[in-house]
């Protein structure tokens, strides 16, 4: 960087931009990098009284404990987190793109705006409210879904949706979908509007129908946006959520509902073993970094846009 002969000149030219970015750099330093010192706790037997500076170091025993306690419960927890994260990622991306394309093809402007507004409203609801709604819809007694399925004759007796481990991941996935599809589609809608309209015109003169215009113009036009968002979201896979699993979960589905965050809360904070909680948190961060790096690398290899 410093070998660049024009470095100082560049700095001078971009003075304002650099100044503008300083607050954000400070923000990131304070809230993202400084707390990393707390990672030391994971290698200690941390006690609040002695603090980070004076707690006893125990090496990797907290990590070892994570993977050996209770027949490898933590491995189960990782599986759940990854599975629900992937469901969120795949469904979230596909539905958001599909929804954005449908909306952009919608010709009636007022209707389009109304639909867009309604569809992104759930994003502003707190997860607590969303789980409340999901819980009521899925209930056995007077639950909307059971009532509906009974009325069309699809089922004979009510299904206890929340008691069956096999449904749980999908319930979380679709709840997230309901909440976020509208919101996530905004960025794709913006990308679609930036596609050159001449392309569509030219294509329709060449005889392309609606579907082939979507297939040959809209989707390729969206590709860079999709890839960048995918890379960023892959890093979020392990943030598969906490609230919804925490509030909808119960003993019966515990084996599939516990995510890393819940585990940290239960065994780390709830049982006063902060070091264990930190160790689980570090594990999560490291895996996330690897995932981001891998997907970025893959994107570069395929000659696509990449994050860095």
């Amino acid at each position: 960087m410093f070998k660049d002969p024009d470095f100082l000149k560049k700095v001078k030219n971009q003075k304002v931009l650099i100044l503008l970015s300083i607050p954000f750099v400070i923000y990131v330093l304070i809230f993202c990098y400084v707390p990393l010192f707390g990672w030391i706790m994971a290698f200690q037997k941390y006690k609040p009284k002695t603090g980070i500076l004076h707690s006893e170091f125990v090496g990797l025993s907290n990590f070892k404990f994570l993977f050996t306690n209770a027949n490898g419960m933590f491995i189960n927890v990782i599986r759940n987190t990854v599975a629900m994260g992937l469901i969120n990622l795949v469904l979230g991306t596909i539905f958001a793109i599909g929804f954005a394309i449908l909306l952009s093809e919608f010709r009636f402007t007022t209707g389009k705006k109304v639909i867009q507004t309604i569809s992104y409203l759930p994003h502003f609801l707190s997860m607590v409210i969303v789980t409340g709604i999901v819980y009521d819809v899925l209930r056995m007694e007077n639950g909307m879904l059971n009532n509906f399925l009974t009325s069309i004759g699809a089922i004979d007796s009510n299904i206890n949706w929340l008691a069956e481990p096999k449904y749980f991941w999908w319930i979380c996935g679709f709840a997230n979908l309901w909440k976020e599809t509208g919101w996530n589609s905004i960025i794709y809608l913006a990308a679609i509007t930036s596609i050159n309209p001449d392309l569509y015109e030219a294509a329709s003169i060449d005889g392309a129908g609606r579907l082939s215009r979507i297939w040959h113009i809209t989707l390729p036009g969206l590709k860079p946006t999709i890839i960048i968002l995918l890379i960023m979201n892959v890093g979020n896979v392990l943030n598969a959520g906490f609230e919804i699993q925490y509030m909808l979960g119960n003993g019966l589905v515990q084996e599939v509902s516990q995510t890393i965050d819940i585990y940290v809360l239960k065994y780390g904070i709830g049982k006063g073993n902060y070091s264990l909680g930190t160790a689980a948190g570090i594990f999560k961060s490291v895996v996330s970094i690897i995932l981001i790096w891998a997907s970025n690398f893959a994107a570069k290899r395929m000659g696509e846009e990449s994050l860095y």
């Binding site: 037997k45 209770a70 008691a163 509030m247 809360l265 780390g268 049982k271 006063g272």
Partner: protein, 576 residues
Amino acid sequence: MKNYKKVITFSMAALLVMGMVSCGGDSGSGDSDSGSGGSNAASSTESAGGATGEIKEFTAFHAVPGTEIDSDNEVQQIIAEKIGAKCKDTWLVGQTAAEAMGVRIAGGDYTDFVTAGAALPQMVDAGTAVAIDEYWDDYPNIKNFYTEAQWNAIKGEWDHVYLMPQFGKRYMYDTGTIHNDEAFWIQTRVLKDQDYPKLETLDEYFDCIEKFIEKHPTMEDGTPNIGYSILCEDWRYFCLENAPFFLDGYPNDGCCIVDETTHKAIDYNTTPTAKKYFKKLNEEYKKGIIDPETFTMNYDTYISKLSTGRVCGMCDQHWDFNDGELAIKQEALNKAELKGCTYVPQGIVIEKGIKERYHSDAALDVSNGITITTSCKDIPGAMKFINDLLDPEIHTLRNWGVKDVDYLVGEDGLFYRTQEMRDNAAQESYRNHHLCPYGYFPLYGGMALDGINACNPDNQPKEFYDSLSEEVKECLAAYNAETYTQLLNPSGENAPWYPMWSYSNNLTSDTDNGLAWANMAEVKHAQLPKVCMADDFDKAWDEYMNVYNSTADVQCFLDSLNVEIQRRIDVAEGKK
């Protein structure tokens, strides 16, 4: 149009000015508050009663569920004017106690007062609990609240007293009217329908409910009756899991059975009684007597179902479902059908001949109490607040309300209430707006300090009996009882190690026995509902036992209990 605008402009400006003035006034008085804090504290004894409008405001967090009262609560204001201080109580919402406290301990940021529950040792460990014995010489109501021996027990292994248990104090004697603890509860209408049978065993209990459901499948409005409901959300799953030791005739040690001759801890999860109990639940579940969605219910759903009066019975602690029963009582004022829907306790055992021990004398629970935190800026003021709340006059205000509004005084000095007063007290909105019990600050049980009345209306024998609905009176009479406790065996003397849950509640997962205890709970949470719902009970039970024994080091946990039992016996015998 122009005029209209002017009017708006002026009124906005006026509002703004008013707002600024009132804000200024507020902050001014706030300043003088903190300024006079020191002097107030120094002259703590004389300022009781002589408040000059400077009211200190404290904050408290109690790691138990509760209802926040209105900010303009009337009795709270009366008390504040008398003692010069008030406290905003906040309660546990949506989290478990351990999680809520864990977050606070990790952050080091507390309210002035905390009811930390099982997390207190961690707080003390972190150095954030105030040693109240360093301050209590000026506050006799606090210092004399417990005997020296009791304070020593509270101190335990620590060098100082860091907490003040709220509920362990009996003044004079206990009137023993209500059973606030665990039992198999059943609605009076169910008993009435079967001509008040004597229920002793689990089979008889479920039999009674089955017959009722057969005869009355629905409520009057057509919603189906629910035979039996089990709450198993998070820590409240004791409603499902801890019945086996009661069924075997042992008192509520919470985490184990303690053999009275060998003084050894026994795991109640694997006893033959446990298997029989879960087998029974499994049968009843298949018969549809148990609510099919019971295992996925959260606490709110459980209480709201109970509030409709549809649930015939359950095994629970009375304090845990009290909100639901209060709602039934309130609704019953307008809906006659609900009058028979309140609950009475039954001392159910597994086989005839076992003596049930559901009712125990309140033991001083040395692990639970109120703590002043290091976040409190005015520790003497906080001490004075607790001290003043134990003043006889204030204590009556907290527990009975305002004289002539909430209760009347008879010629013999006995307090009583009119039906209207009782109905008021049954209304949640009235309670929140008017009554302020400061229920998680230390209070006397048993009798009130005047020696004539009981500590609160529920414990006043005559008032208690008069306030019962006709249905409950009839039910009690059928069993030759006048109080709820008389439906159960009288409490025996508490063993020196009782209650063992005050030990297990304090375990953390960074010790081997604490980890075993956490893992046991983890397995039971997942497996017990499966066992109850299984098509093939025996297979499910075997699998549960397999997972249970391979996941948790139960023996390690029991060994640590044995050590603790012996330690407590030694303490009681003065060997320590």
